[in-house]
Symmetry: D2
């Protein structure tokens, strides 16, 4: 597999942007493998993802920020650079339902998710067996209603200690505080078991069943201060009928949740997701 | 094509129901073509659709109510009988968007929808050309904010005059009053351009675009007093991406709306839909 | 959970069948929970699945065959009875790809698949770790081109020894001989990694990639003597684009295969599948 | 709406291509609105679609070919330029089934398809009413088995006379000769009523019904000399069950065919489709 670099950027739209970036890369002998851009016509915003082969690239990545700075300043870019060979460190939070965790760990082990998993954190002991199966560190941090802040402090300490880059909430049933979220802006991925914005909040399958919908959904999004309101990364649905009991909804939904969360995590790891205006661009 | 009868019924669940109904029909020499039942375990409700060949059936349909009454009373059934050969009279309400109307009329003309269309009613003149193309009666009833009640009175008079059995709102952009709806309980079918309960009310595509969803939807439901809250008959979704503008959403959504509404209308005409507890059973 | 019995039957269609079966069950005080029937109009065939609560059922299941025999003979029925409490014994065959096996085992362990797994058989050692994780017996039976018959003899001996009821081929990459298949008629479930009948046989993803299809598929079917030609239980598809490499197809396909195979296995276990005319009826 | 130009090109992949094209356009003061590229890693091919605003563009489009020629030669590009304001002239061929024609005409009339329709050609009279509804020219060219060549000569004369740019076969049930096809390379779009390559050739719904598939499909593709084998532009599927008769398949399939064909035609008109290696790239 080639080692590649990915540049994700956004800036006010303006003439000559594509040429400027392509010329910068060419000047350092980059072989562009993918270049994808998007304009938001209403916000006059330019968003781009460009990936190039590092073989033959004449600029050491450590020197990239300094070399790119003038161009970035000229066009007022927000940007980040990622090296494909680098494996981000992902923490997984889980409660009692283990289907999403099991799915993520299987994909991790099979090489589908290009990351490290330095820690699995749970407010219960139920999923420890899965961590042990895959020989991954697991820590039980109980969360009681009265000592939530203390629990979050402990969680943050662990994440810091384990040098965690981003967090995946794999059906973690506790609401995180704004204080916690502020430590990982656009770096906490949640799976919500409904087609947002329908049935945000608690017990979505119960409410979907009661409402008599004909499709159920799942949504993966970045966590923001407002519950279930962050930028949506991926959604999908499955058909149900009057024959499906609440239990059937929960079972069929579990399969959706796994697929939708794993896609979102994979795209995040592949540096395909750019957030703006509480939405995502997912470059494909 | 065979002429058939369809019996739709619901009652408290109890032992012997299937046998009792089958025996009643057999006693009159019915050849059952389809029998489908559903139990709602929570509500202890039994729901059934049974269809039989009228060829050889020994009981004239006019005598069915009297003959079936004792059984219906014994099991406390709510029931209705439909003869497949009978064509219900469907009114279509429309405003300016004509895609759903055009789709319904094409399906009507091609024989896919087994109904009569004695009247198309609109608060605008824009879609008259379609009615003329298919040689169907069209009436323009303007609806102003101040004279809504009067407009509804006129609409009701027309529906009564045309002996209309049920009403389809094919992107009709006026909210009907509870007084109007009471004349057609479970006999007004609406298409809402979102995946309900998400984005109920006005401008769903605008709000879907703003929220950054990855799928858009459409929902067909029976109209009740509460806006966009009636029993859902059918829903479907289509994938969108960050590349889709608001206009793209509206275009892709139009294709969804046509399909979802036409399915709901077809199932209603085929006597496949039973309403209970603000949900539908759609027998397949 | 209620203990229930399921009766699956097919016979020439004729008047009075539903009543006859309902009366037979009622005579033994059955409380019917689900009854679903299907007529094949062309073949004049009647197919039915009926499930009833065993609580209060007056006929011991051991006596069912004798008691039901006269009715079955009168209507020339093919039928089988299953008790929901009974757990069929399922063998899983696997080669090197482990995603379907991992998915089945996770579902088995979580209680979603109501069966025993007395043996996992493989022509390789690669997936032993999964069997060990779930503490299930695993046996390696090498299959060489020259000694296939001998390998099958050994496999059959193991299946016999383990009292296996049916076999699931979870991406097992060897073609089974007609002789082997004859031991498990309509009791071997395969997953083929294409939308059959497209790309039957070897290397379907390679051929799909080459053909430039816009959707890939997976098909689960009962195995018959003709390769990839048996009765289809379930199929599904996923969208791809020109951006997807052959490797992407293989990865996206793996997710499809898991879902499609697990649905087919679950329906088989729930006694929902009836085979006739090289097709399946899947009662829902 | 902005007037834009679209450049579609393919060439051997090589360093500096993106920069070279961006610089060429920038030199003439182009404001790039979309730029999308694709590399086929195996064939070492570079494919690109770039769209820019013609407002402020300093190079008259008539002079584009001469100005672009040196760059095109240097990189050995195959390319074509389209002006969005230009409406291609589309002929529609149809036989007796009218659902695809009706759908295309409705979309044409509503402004969704940016084209002219100078002629509708049919080997029957059945669909003339639709042409008349939309006030479009219709010509009946009978095709008999013995005089096919003559019929095609007449069709070609009409297409030539009407200055037709491309042809849509909207369920046209005659096979076109290689001689005919050679006049419109990659400019004849067909809708086939199956999920190709499954059920290519005649009577696909009959064969799908017989095979017992669980999904039916439709495929839109460019026509080549080999029947149903040309580059696929779009495919989609719909779920069916054992309850669906052959007639149900045909009805459900009709809805698929309309959607799939209209998407393909729209993408063709938007200059989004590039053909290579008997596949398509559909830029989104």
């Amino acid at each position: 597999m080639k080692n590649t670099a990915v540049l994700l950027l956004s800036c006010p739209d303006q003439r000559g942007l594509v040429a400027a970036i392509a010329n910068f890369l060419l000047a350092h002998n980059a072989n562009i493998l993918h270049a994808d851009q998007h304009q938001d016509g209403e916000l006059k915003l330019f968003l781009m993802r460009v990936e190039w082969d590092l073989h033959g690239f004449a600029l050491p990545l450590a020197d990239f920020p300094a070399a790119f700075a003038p161009l970035a300043a000229q066009y007022r870019m927000t940007w980040r650079l990622a090296e494909a060979a680098h494996k981000p460190r992902m923490a997984v939070f889980v409660s009692k339902f283990d289907h999403c965790l099991a799915d993520l760990l299987y994909r991790y082990q099979s090489g589908e998710l290009h990351c490290e998993i330095p820690i699995i954190l749970s407010n219960h002991e139920d999923t420890r067996w899965l961590a042990e199966t895959y020989r991954l560190p697991y820590q039980h941090v109980p969360v009681s209603r009265d000592a939530k802040e203390e629990a979050e402090r402990m969680q943050l300490a662990i994440l810091h200690d384990r040098k965690v880059d981003f967090v995946v909430l794999a059906r973690y049933m506790q609401v995180l505080s704004p204080r916690f979220i502020a430590h990982f802006p656009q770096r906490i991925i949640n799976i919500h078991h409904s087609f947002l914005p329908a049935f945000h909040g608690a017990k979505p399958y119960h409410r979907a069943f009661e409402r008599g919908v004909k499709l159920i959904g799942a949504t993966s999004h970045y966590v923001t201060e407002t519950l279930d309101d962050g930028p949506i990364i991926e959604q999908d649905v499955a058909r149900i009928s009057h024959r499906d009991t609440l239990d059937d909804l929960i079972h069929k939904g579990a399969d959706l949740e796994k697929i939708v969360l794993s896609r979102a995590v994979k795209w995040h790891l592949d540096n395909r997701v750019l957030v703006y205006a509480n939405k995502t661009v997912v470059f494909d």
